[in-house]
């Protein structure tokens, strides 16, 4: 089996906050991304999914500290922090930030904003860069002559496409997309998702889609990981996660999402996620879980292999403990 394109191994991120508080935002996250794969990182607000992908790019603020490894094509890009990450930023891994469509510089043309990263990272310059910018716009479904236009002349959906074009400026291998369709209408969302799937199919672009919207991930991604309180609760194929969940949170999250044609009650999960500024002794989901048993509040579940390419962090999967459940 080939080395996956990206392998994240036991990633931890802490934030030093005012008042001497330390927030442990990402708590040992591991996953792998194959070439050309579309991978979903799903979770609710505060689960650490955005911080995780920011860590992959090394785009964390000065009050952050990181442990663990991120292997890109076998090389640990986090080995020496900023030093080893920055050569790969935008050239190998690119990102579309949340609200990217509103983050354009209003006084520069869209073309200029696509050309800039190319020149900065010495991928192309001058006429050639502008030509590439036009081609990139065409790739995302905008006609090339719009490079001379300003962001306010684009609609929301078009700006999001332009943001995608910008992130592809240096031909990265991986695109990290943080809530790329959250603020968009459902029809425009469908267009953008179709674009992302097309880019991954036609150009072999690997995609990590970060979102709270499970159905979007179900439609677009092949593999996904469900995050909660800074940890991955379960990961695997979307089919497996939906039809055979191995973690109560996964099951409940699907159940909490209304489906157009689904029957059955839409549930809510009582309680709230735990504070991340302290140690969590057992399973972080235990207080809200409907299948807790003896070890859950005190013993941290191991992140076990529960099937081919499937992992779950739940005592219910542990053959040693399951007898007691």
């Amino acid at each position: 089996m080939n080395e996956p394109l990206i392998r994240v191994e036991d990633l931890h991120v802490w934030f030093d906050l005012k008042g001497g508080v330390e927030l442990h935002a990402v708590r040992g996250v591991s996953f792998a991304l194959e070439r050309g794969e579309r991978f979903g990182l799903v979770g609710e607000s505060g689960c650490g999914k955005t911080t995780t992908i920011l860590a992959l790019m090394g785009l964390l603020p000065p009050n952050a500290s990181v442990a663990g490894a991120v292997y890109l094509d076998g090389e640990n890009i986090l080995e020496h922090g900023e030093e080893t990450v920055s050569p790969h930023r935008w050239k190998d891994i690119a990102m579309i930030f949340q609200g990217a469509m509103n983050a354009f510089n209003p006084v520069k043309t869209v073309g200029k904003q696509i050309v800039e990263p190319m020149e900065l990272h010495e991928v192309a310059e001058g006429k050639e860069a502008w030509k590439r910018a036009g081609e990139l716009l065409e790739t995302v479904g905008i006609s090339a002559n719009r490079t001379r236009r300003y962001p306010h002349e684009f609609s929301g959906g078009m700006r999001q496409r332009a943001a995608i074009a910008m992130s592809l400026a240096c031909s990265p291998k991986v695109l990290l997309a943080d809530e790329p369709t959250t603020a968009l209408d459902v029809m425009v969302q469908a267009q953008i998702l179709e674009l992302l799937v097309g880019l991954s199919n036609d150009f072999g672009l690997s995609l990590v889609l970060v979102t709270h919207d499970l159905p979007v991930v179900a439609q677009v991604c092949e593999q996904a990981a469900v995050m909660y309180a800074g940890e991955i609760m379960e990961s695997g194929t979307l089919d497996g996660l939906y039809h055979d969940p191995r973690h109560p949170y996964t099951r409940l999250l699907f159940a909490a999402t209304p489906d157009l044609y689904g029957e059955g009650e839409v549930v809510s999960i009582p309680g709230a996620p735990p504070r991340l500024d302290r140690e969590i002794p057992g399973c972080p989901f235990a207080p809200r879980c409907d299948r807790t048993f003896a070890p859950c509040p005190d013993v941290k579940p191991r992140y076990l292999v529960v099937g081919p390419d499937r992992h779950a962090a739940c005592h219910l999967n542990d053959p040693a403990l399951a007898k007691a459940s």
Binding site: Y242, A256, D259, Y261
Partner: protein, 339 residues
């Protein structure tokens, strides 16, 4: 209370041919260049009713006029034309003073729970304010009881735990419930809910939606604005789909979702992501952007993007009518090809 009130009494809310036009400011350059004043045709003749014990979902994309419609019903803006009747009374042209007692009966819940509460007010103050405004003061103990009751009704139990908290000590879902409690304390008859759960975490949404459903079962009428068809399908009795200021399809929620009659509805339903990864239907993605309410197409407003448009569609502006394929008398669509 039944979901369809008896035929004799008027519906709780009766909106007829509502029109809302906004002038578009031209700016200095526009004025100097003598450009014609643009008009946003936000709402262009909308007719619907909400009965007691019924939830109607107004569904559509941005710019379709659903929020403006809600603002008009709430009488925060003056309609350009048309009629709004609440419990039989015409409230379309009432002034601020006459509207005041009605403000107890019609309440609105907003999308953003983080901005809905004054950060300097405790929960107690927020829920008490409506009582103050309408002079329903009474003795301190009586007021406190009203507040506690409203909090319980909004699902915040035990209420004593919440009454002295500040908003920043509460989660999004709790804040939204406080906003709902503040609406309930006046005993309204009609609730307008503008995207009540879109800013809440998924695991918390159903709780708030079930709360609204519970209120509906107690007899309140609810007009819910949402872009999320799945939520509408699960919780609303009826769905009205809006496009560019008009209702293009309206009917019982399950009927609209399982047997859509209008091509726009069909396209929308096909692109809504389903949570079952095996249900990857071929989405019918309409090209182009959600159109601009300042330039409404002539004829059927949907024809430029319609996959089944015929030449006649450019000439006829269809009204809502029962279609040949509909299975229920209340299910109507504005499409000449569906009639």
């Amino acid at each position: 209370m039944s979901a369809n009130g008896d035929g004799a009494s008027p519906p709780l809310l009766d909106v007829e041919s509502l029109v809302m036009h906004y002038p578009v400011p031209r700016g200095l350059v526009g004025t100097l260049a003598r450009r014609p004043k643009g008009v946003v045709h936000a709402v262009e003749g909308v007719t619907f009713q909400v009965r007691e014990g019924e939830m109607l979902a107004l569904v559509g994309e941005s710019g379709c006029g659903k929020t403006t419609t809600a603002q008009s019903v709430l009488r925060m803006v003056d309609p350009t034309s048309g009629a709004i009747r609440f419990r039989g009374q015409d409230i379309t042209r009432l002034g601020a003073r006459e509207l005041r007692p009605l403000r107890r009966e019609i309440q609105m819940i907003y999308q953003d729970p983080y901005e809905s509460l004054d950060p300097r007010f405790r929960v107690r103050d927020t829920v008490e304010e409506p009582l103050d405004v309408h002079g329903l003061a009474g003795a301190k103990s009586e007021r406190r009881q009203h507040i506690l009751d409203a909090l319980v009704r909004a699902g915040l139990t035990p209420p004593e735990l919440y009454i002295d908290r500040f908003p920043h000590e509460l989660s999004g879902g709790q804040r939204q419930r406080v906003a709902i409690a503040a609406s309930l304390v006046l005993n309204p008859k009609l609730l307008l809910a503008d995207e009540p759960v879109s800013m809440l975490d998924v695991s918390v949404r159903a709780g708030v939606l079930h709360l609204l459903d519970g209120l509906r079962q107690e007899g309140l009428g609810i007009l819910m604005i949402t872009h999320d068809l799945s939520t509408a399908a699960h919780f609303a009795n009826r769905i009205a789909v809006m496009y560019l200021g008009r209702i293009v399809e309206e009917g019982p929620a399950q009927e609209v979702v399982t047997n859509p009659q209008h091509p726009y509805t069909k396209a929308l339903l096909s692109v809504v992501p389903k949570r079952d990864p095996q249900h990857r239907s071929r989405p019918q993605i309409l090209q182009g952007e959600t159109p601009d309410p300042t330039h409404i197409p002539v004829g059927c407003r949907f024809h430029p993007r319609c996959p089944i448009a015929i030449p006649e569609c450019k000439q006829v502006d269809p009204e809502l009518r029962r279609t040949s394929g509909s299975r229920s008398p209340g299910h109507r669509a504005a499409c000449i090809r569906a009639w």
